[in-house]
Point group: D2
Chain length 381, copies 4
Amino acid sequence: MAKRKICVVITARPSYARFRSAMEAIACHPDLELQVITAASAILERFGFPDKVIEADGIKIDVKLHTMLEGGNLITAAKSTGLGIIELASAFQTLSPDAVVTIADRFETLSTAVAAAYMNIPLVHIQGGEISGNIDNKVRHAITKLADLHLVASEPARQRVIAMGEHPDKVHVTGCPSIDIAATVLKDPEIKVDLFKAYKGVGPRIEWHRPYLVVLQHPVTTEPEAAARQADETLHAVHESALPTFWFWPNIDAGSDATSHAIRAYRERCQPENIHFFKNLPPEDFLRLVYHSRAIVGNSSVGIRECAFLGVPAINIGDRQRNRDRGANVIDVPHDRRHILSAIHSLHKRPRPPSDPLYGDGRAGKRIANLLATEPLSHHK
Amino acid sequence: MAKRKICVVITARPSYARFRSAMEAIACHPDLELQVITAASAILERFGFPDKVIEADGIKIDVKLHTMLEGGNLITAAKSTGLGIIELASAFQTLSPDAVVTIADRFETLSTAVAAAYMNIPLVHIQGGEISGNIDNKVRHAITKLADLHLVASEPARQRVIAMGEHPDKVHVTGCPSIDIAATVLKDPEIKVDLFKAYKGVGPRIEWHRPYLVVLQHPVTTEPEAAARQADETLHAVHESALPTFWFWPNIDAGSDATSHAIRAYRERCQPENIHFFKNLPPEDFLRLVYHSRAIVGNSSVGIRECAFLGVPAINIGDRQRNRDRGANVIDVPHDRRHILSAIHSLHKRPRPPSDPLYGDGRAGKRIANLLATEPLSHHK
Amino acid sequence: MAKRKICVVITARPSYARFRSAMEAIACHPDLELQVITAASAILERFGFPDKVIEADGIKIDVKLHTMLEGGNLITAAKSTGLGIIELASAFQTLSPDAVVTIADRFETLSTAVAAAYMNIPLVHIQGGEISGNIDNKVRHAITKLADLHLVASEPARQRVIAMGEHPDKVHVTGCPSIDIAATVLKDPEIKVDLFKAYKGVGPRIEWHRPYLVVLQHPVTTEPEAAARQADETLHAVHESALPTFWFWPNIDAGSDATSHAIRAYRERCQPENIHFFKNLPPEDFLRLVYHSRAIVGNSSVGIRECAFLGVPAINIGDRQRNRDRGANVIDVPHDRRHILSAIHSLHKRPRPPSDPLYGDGRAGKRIANLLATEPLSHHK
Amino acid sequence: MAKRKICVVITARPSYARFRSAMEAIACHPDLELQVITAASAILERFGFPDKVIEADGIKIDVKLHTMLEGGNLITAAKSTGLGIIELASAFQTLSPDAVVTIADRFETLSTAVAAAYMNIPLVHIQGGEISGNIDNKVRHAITKLADLHLVASEPARQRVIAMGEHPDKVHVTGCPSIDIAATVLKDPEIKVDLFKAYKGVGPRIEWHRPYLVVLQHPVTTEPEAAARQADETLHAVHESALPTFWFWPNIDAGSDATSHAIRAYRERCQPENIHFFKNLPPEDFLRLVYHSRAIVGNSSVGIRECAFLGVPAINIGDRQRNRDRGANVIDVPHDRRHILSAIHSLHKRPRPPSDPLYGDGRAGKRIANLLATEPLSHHK
């Protein structure tokens, strides 16, 4: 019997980070053939050429597509999605996959879903049924309604997908494959490189064998004008805490230019001596860095998901992760420097939270590959 | 207070036919300003230049956009949607509407929804919550998850939209504005023109003062290869019935070329002397023709919706309208010439069904305009 | 040494017909690898799926791209060109050819030229330096200025390319490869199939063993509104001549819908009993049909080029081939039924013209392949 | 008589800077109506939102179009051009201008030319017939072959346009309107603001009342990989000269990311105390700064054009301006720090060059408006 051709479309670096263990499991599965398309921000230098990271991991990319418009605003988000549909349709025609996999909820993700759904290619959605605080919700649920098979991270997510009218037989809890990497990291937690040499970045060489913070703060899509102010609040709090801090640049999104600007302006103005800025780290070393930190600060889902499993406190700022299922490791604060600082000060009084399998047990990748190999694939719902 | 700018995007002739009374009500409302964009098949000669029909009705079109790729297949459907998003984003930037209205469930409709949702423009969806038998379902429900305000045709539709997780306050039953035209037609049912002179078409001049049929059969999107055979079954049945018949060409969709081909081939081969073929009629005269007919035959929603109100039997073929709420006027048959013919023969034994307000009471247009003028408009859900 | 990868982009059926012998020579050349992309009208049913014709000839197509917008007007011509650039850029990125070949002067051709030129891929232009009567001139000469290597059909063409400022070393006279097919046909001129069975078409089965005509009339791009009237003039003249006639549908272009309309309307109205209409014939049988005809009528370049070599009279209507180098076989007439008819009547008094190698000697394909294998390839001019 | 609608498409900040005086003259002309479209880099923050600069000058922009893909490489240059054609076609359909004006030779410029030419809108090309050292040449000459009216900067340019086969009646020497601004500046040469306060930038506040340099170095399109090294050579030379220096960031182009990177890396590494970096200045103050400088250094056309008129030495590096007509103010050097430094050292021994009207006399804008008002406009060549 011919192998099923499974086409995974990666449109952003975090999607690859999250889905990598599943891609490896697909590539190794005897009944599956892995096809990979990279597009949107996943082939841009500004994000550290994620395509080259993928290739360095030994995964062949079949097609690369430039689909991201410059501008970083709401209009270009819409247009990038449109251009993505156009180009992905051609790529799907060339690759003729048996199923297409789209991951999560970012705006470019919808390109993949629309192109596959319209072309009658069975569409598999990873991480439906979650809830967050902005346009991502609309996009994620719209993809759910276009998708034929739903591989979700948790039981609450499964319930929500079914509540939206999807057939229970088509919704499977696999856990999130990002936790697979966290599970690997737990078994081998030591960072073996000199971070500053290996990953450069800008800012002073900080003393990270003392308690330190990791910051990852994304702009909130529907409030671009507030992004700069929000970044400023966090910068002030972290600067004033005087704790050694690794700050990671935000991903691409409406408002990201404002966030980047705010960060650059703060650096020039205040020259914070306790913050080192990174663009990207390989996910293992990133998670190792998070694992050894006192806390992760910002609004990334890493604080909610991976940190639940790793048992690392997450100071979660603002609404971006609102309503998302969360474990005991999460401390919610508003975009206010005093609240953020106070949460940082509270850390040394709290015991380290235990590991929580809320988002997965470390075996999601293999589960996903097995389901892709055995589930009936159909574009009829 | 500034008038609310309501931007209606028309991407297909049937959408305009369906929504026209609402557009007139918006244009007349003291607190609203109507903006109109025509795109996709709504500016093509093959569909009788619907844009010129709109302008002939006295409605100004602000922007016309060529977004339809040639090919009539699944790939070009996807790409036309992508191109639609790109161009609509620019048009929305120029027009800066306070709300965007998108109608129903055809593939190009999703372009409007994605562009508006991503640009944080409140999105109003007309006719969500319905159920049909193909890709339209996926598209319609995906639009529901992107939309901020839902103006639906019936109470069952309202229940379904809420069941998918939308807030009840944001879902209003208005009835379908297409019924408004049917209500007008009921008050003035006489056709005042010579159909053959006014609307030409091809085929013999048939005797339509005897009992006659109207046929409207669209290709079923997900089975393009079967479209030709399905058209053939209906052609044979109608030809054999020997009843005078007005046959309307299908709309554009994957497979429409196959349907058109089958029709042309049958005409050349069998020269059916009882069938006259039309491309398009103005909606009033079309509904008058339907009203006086013995039955409508095919798989159009007109049989389910307008004919419920008009009290006209509908011989509904195949799965396209499957699961759609239906009145007592509907006779369901498979794509099989014997079943179709037998249903036609059964007509003279059935009493004419009574008028049924299942899809509206004839006042939807004004209700829609009033809601657009008074409901809070927001892109936050 | 690695073979040079030569990427030929086919965007219209006539381009393939013209370039086929060169593609076969490239595929057979020991130092070359042939890559093929089909796009625009070359993958549409309306033109008889030229891509399937290519594959039936044993040539593998690497990428197929839907890039043609529906509408057949000036706006969609522009937009199809834009979409072509976008998609070809991605395809070139995937195929990474050593040179790209673009043929002649139709609007979609410029897509290939722009994408290749901007991506620093050496661009080879076939059939530069010719002169015709409309937008094609602008497009052809613009491509000349973007191209790095010019393989032209005739010495006058070479002089014109050099006069536009191109370096003489980069301009080679190869003859037109379409003449290669004509040369093959001359050696084997007999049609072995029943034309009406093999190629169907519509209209009566005509008696073509008597003197007959072949008509091929394209709309003139810059005068869409006049296209219908022009088609009408030719239809009247040919009908009145009462000579058996094979009429070929026009290619896609601004105005082609008008031409097709005019033809359909005339057929319905006058039912010309002496005209049979074809969509497409394989080029060999088409040229055989032309070879045995009394004359070709219309405005196709076949009358100017292949018919010079075949020694067939060409009644050339209107400005489309204006200024093109021409042999003694050409009779120029305006778009006027009387002039066209009078030219048809004059045919039986004229001796058949001799074969003229003005556009090639039948060995162009091999010459082109050899130059592609040996010329320095560079994108610096 | 209706005013002629003249649609000017601005796709890059320098094009506006160059053409501004002509736009003002068109807007003031009694027989002309000015339409303005901004697209590509002309609406991006990275270039200082040139659209807002235009609006601040009191010019209304009719349509803004996001057409620039992110990536800054050769592929995205091609795709941005394709997207530009698509969107401009729609905009031209809405605005229905009597003529479209496209400026110079950058890759996005070709979008305007293709869309207008295909849509049969008379195309006016500004600054044809010049010669530079890269892809710009191909683009400029291709536009010449698409254009219907050529308004060129100098007599040698006119000769070259005619030599490419354009009709002499359609080629007019107007001078370059950028010189109009230089002429204004000559009459009022004083800078009235505190540069560092008004235009910020990064780097030390330098002492510019001493002899100082202005640097403007663009990446060379066809050699992206070399861009970083070339920037480095100039940085070293200027740093070593120890002269106060204003360095302007390069425009967007393939390789611009590499250039920007090289500049940032040098700044972080060497912290050059004599260089202040600016993004953009209003053209008047920019030219005033140039006028008072000891020399302009780099590869911008400003050194060749405006500086000829202003009588300012230009140390012109590398091939970018190769073959361009030049006055006595130009000193050509290769991309080599020693040659650049030696040229800087030679400056104090050279007398200031006299003003040279090679590229215009300061009255180009009015000449252009008059020609647009009076020349026959046609799309037939």
